[in-house]
Symmetry: C2
Subunit: 155 residues, 2 copies
Amino acid sequence: MYKKNIFTSWFKKNKRTGRKFMEKIKERALKLANKKIAFVGSVNENNVPNIKAMSVAKHHGLETFYFASSHSAIKTEHYKRNFNACIYFNDGPIYKELVLEGIMKIFNDIEMKKMAWKNDLKSAFKNGGIHDPDYCVLKFTAKKGHYHTEAFEID
Amino acid sequence: MYKKNIFTSWFKKNKRTGRKFMEKIKERALKLANKKIAFVGSVNENNVPNIKAMSVAKHHGLETFYFASSHSAIKTEHYKRNFNACIYFNDGPIYKELVLEGIMKIFNDIEMKKMAWKNDLKSAFKNGGIHDPDYCVLKFTAKKGHYHTEAFEID
């Protein structure tokens, strides 16, 4: 909110166009994307948004993010109907925030499950751990983003 | 996620049914709802979810929450098309989380604007402060909620 008016001193000092500016924006966005916890958004069957904090298992830059999840989770059910998703990161002041818009797909292949696995998931997947049929991996692929008030495309 | 398996020791010790249990859940939910920052969810024109951190200007229990906002904010535009909304709070461990589902309405009346106003909004609304035509108030009314894995209705 207040997108037209509130800028940090950094924003004031910098011209808001050009390749260098966008590089700087993405650099700042990437710092937030390196955080361990993301707020993950989905849309339910009644077109109502939902939010859940999730641990990021792995990510590649601003492009792809992986999350350990389960088929029985509410969020996974949402993505089965509507793969539209966003992930949000923030840090300290309210304007230090990044939202990435994209799609979330559900994967069951063992290589991805191994990649996203952590030992503290054992208590959640008692029916075979990494082989528990309820265990799945959510892969988020970003299309575009907003760092604070600045929009950018994902290459 | 992992809704079937991960519970805190408190959840383990308590029977998961009955009025007393639900009262305890709502009490814990209310503690989170008293936090100053909410993560607010909307759905855009392409059916994609969006998340934004917002300061809570005022709230009544788990039922209603007010936010200072602007007509030109992306989120406000979303709510003009689709008033479905959620607000999310968390605190520390990932399972200490509350999501409320409901509707978000946009208000322009001066009493509500006064109620939600704070002096640090001056820099955002230079065209008359509290009388700036871009300034508006978002009112969220909850219908139901989830505290961690426990669902409840709002009376």
